[in-house]
């Protein structure tokens, strides 16, 4: 039997809105996954380091400050530089639909907008594990 799916839930940037991140973390835990939550104000370097150290197969990033177009690509670049582009990245928060194609071009697998049911996030992780 395969081990538990390991997921890092991260808050890049400076915004303090961590309700969504914590709710998603809890839902993934309840679905039987191993979840590590980074806490607030993580730099892309800290996120990638944590992902490597914790040996996760997913990083879920939540951001509500509008800095996603800067910070998400930075995480993707660092993952590549560290030969970790096998780690799958998804995101959520206040992210306008216009910005999603750009984030996906940069390698973000999925972006979940406000109002997304938790079951959808859980399903995404399970299907892509």
């Amino acid at each position: 039997m395969a081990g538990k799916i390991r997921v890092l839930i991260a808050k890049p940037g400076l915004d303090g809105h961590d309700r969504g991140a914590k709710v998603v973390a809890q839902a993934l835990k309840d679905a039987g996954m191993e979840v590590i939550y980074t806490g607030l104000r993580q730099t892309p370097e800290q996120i990638v380091n944590a992902a490597i150290q914790e040996d996760v197969s997913f990083i879920g990033m939540s951001i509500l400050s509008g800095a996603h177009n800067t910070l998400f690509p930075k995480v993707m670049k660092l993952l590549k530089e560290n030969d970790c582009d096998n780690i799958k990245v998804f995101g959520g928060g206040v992210i306008p639909a216009d910005d999603i194609p750009f984030l996906k071009e940069n390698g973000v697998m999925e972006v979940f907008g406000p109002g997304t049911p938790l079951t959808e996030v859980v399903k995404f992780v399970k299907e892509n594990a």
Binding site: L14, G16, R41, S65, V94, P96, L118
Partner: protein, 473 residues
């Protein structure tokens, strides 16, 4: 009517303020960007991508001068959503007023200055709780003598609710924080009646229409009792809970955003019927981005319709005596008092936060609420019922990346042109005084007048006070 606004550079935000003032708003409410709220300059590595995004970027007094250009500070009242570095921003405001020829005694407004809820809900803390509480009491003392009409704190339940608490928890945790501030001020030698009237509160207006009205009534009643019985306040004004309300941002849906106008109208009405002193109505597109000028106007008009057309403001507490409202008020008061007692037993709000108790209660409520939406026990129209296929909305406000570039240029120019010896001397004095018990306000004011930047001032204090590290519970 006070609409929270700010984005990009001080120039752009100043334009938005002029627009709001010309359209009948009565007070300004400044939104700062995250680097400003956490005490970093725009050129700090941590600020990358965040400059001007969720509010206006302020690095030095020069930005503040632009922000309030052509706005007479003796005429408007200004609310600033600033917490950890609130002493610095208020000092800048006083310095701008002085340049306009307006003395500090005439200034009216509010700083949020409520650090305890930052640790549990909002996240823009800098220093650990102890030095943060000292900065807050320093502000209380300085303003009592020098800026007497300033509301020196806005004790906020808004963000606690946004983080996922329920109505009774919102009241309980907010008043528990309030108790901690009053106790800290008394412990530092202030007489309760000398500052209590300058305390103000800030609540959320959520979806449960009657429950929200009852919530405001319960909070008022509880605070009067707390001030009178617990702290021995004598003046009636010390017992009055004055509050600002904002409609709940987390209730807005990205789906069918027009529906948010109706949601906001109902929430705003509950706050008015509950007796709010001032109000911010959210704009329909805020689940998606910062609001456009058009949607801000609708939000303001919503308040004007309530205030000027509906006649609901003809009497005070119009629902008092309704069996249902009275029952709900009693229930919320009881649940909230039970929480406060529990928090008292732990040693007060700062200790309950240290223990993670308040954070865990909020987290649990947030998760339960989300699950109740997914099970359709709670209905969110357009999200779990009455959905339609819709195209992603267009015409959202975007803060373009050039803001950061422009802000960096401005900051560099200020740093090149100011008298750097004066800056160094002011920061050195501040550092020395931070290690004593002296009130830091005058030294921060001296520093901002030399055009020392917010980041430089906060970093000076970081060296002495250290930084708070969030614990994960």
């Amino acid at each position: 009517m006070r609409q929270y606004a700010g984005f990009g550079t001080a120039e752009e935000t100043n334009e938005r303020y002029q627009y709001l003032l010309n359209n009948g708003t009565m007070g300004l409410s400044v939104a700062f960007d995250l680097p400003t709220q956490i005490g970093y300059d725009s050129d700090d590595a941590l600020s990358e991508g965040e400059v001007g995004k969720v509010g206006v970027a302020i690095d030095t007094l020069a930005d503040m001068e632009i922000l309030f250009d052509s706005i007479p500070l003796d005429k408007v009242s200004t609310s600033m959503t600033i917490n950890a570095p609130s002493m610095v921003l208020l000092a800048m405001y006083i310095a701008v007023a002085e340049k306009q020829g307006v003395s500090a005694e005439k200034l009216k407004g509010t700083i949020q200055n409520d650090i305890l809820k930052e640790y549990v809900a909002r996240g823009t803390y800098i220093f650990p709780p102890k030095p943060s509480m000292r900065l807050i009491t320093d502000i209380f003392k300085y303003c009592k003598d020098n800026v007497p009409y300033w509301n020196t704190i806005s004790i906020s339940g808004y963000h606690i609710r946004e983080a996922g608490s329920d109505a009774a928890q919102e009241v309980a945790f907010t008043l528990a924080d309030g108790i901690a501030y009053v106790q800290a001020a008394i412990d530092s030698g202030l007489d309760v009646d000398s500052f209590a009237a300058r305390l103000s509160f800030f609540f959320n207006a959520h979806n449960g229409f009657f429950e929200e009205i009852a919530k405001y009534r319960a909070a008022r009643r509880m605070w009067a009792k707390i001030m009178k019985e617990r702290f021995g306040a004598k003046k009636q004004k010390s017992m009055m809970l004055r509050f600002h309300t904002q409609t709940g941002g987390s209730t807005l849906t990205a789906q069918q955003p027009e529906n948010n106008i109706v949601r906001v109208a109902l929430q705003a009405l509950s706050a008015v019927l509950g007796g709010t002193q001032s109000l911010h109505t959210n704009s329909k597109d805020e689940a998606l981005a910062l609001p456009t000028e058009d949607s801000v106007r609708v939000a303001l008009r919503t308040q004007q319709i309530i205030a000027e057309e509906s006649n609901v403001t003809d009497t005070v507490d119009p629902l008092g005596g309704s069996f249902y409202i009275e029952k709900l008020t009693n229930e919320i008061e009881k649940r909230a008092m039970d929480y406060i007692k529990k928090i008292d037993d732990m040693g007060g709000a700062p200790q309950a936060i240290e223990n993670g108790y308040i954070q865990q209660e909020i987290q649990k409520a947030a998760y339960d609420y989300q699950k109740s939406i997914e099970s359709k026990e709670n209905i969110v129209v357009g999200v779990n019922k009455h959905q339609i296929d819709e195209r992603p909305p267009e015409n959202l406000l975007k803060v373009d990346m050039s803001v950061q570039e422009r802000q960096l240029k401005k900051l560099k120019k200020v740093k090149d042109e100011r008298d750097n010896d004066k800056v160094k001397a002011a920061l050195k004095t501040l550092k020395e005084k931070a290690q004593t018990d002296e009130n830091l306000f005058p030294y921060v004011l001296d520093a901002v007048k030399t055009y020392a930047s917010l980041g430089e001032i906060c970093n000076t204090l970081r060296e002495i006070f250290g930084e708070y590290n969030q614990k994960i519970f």
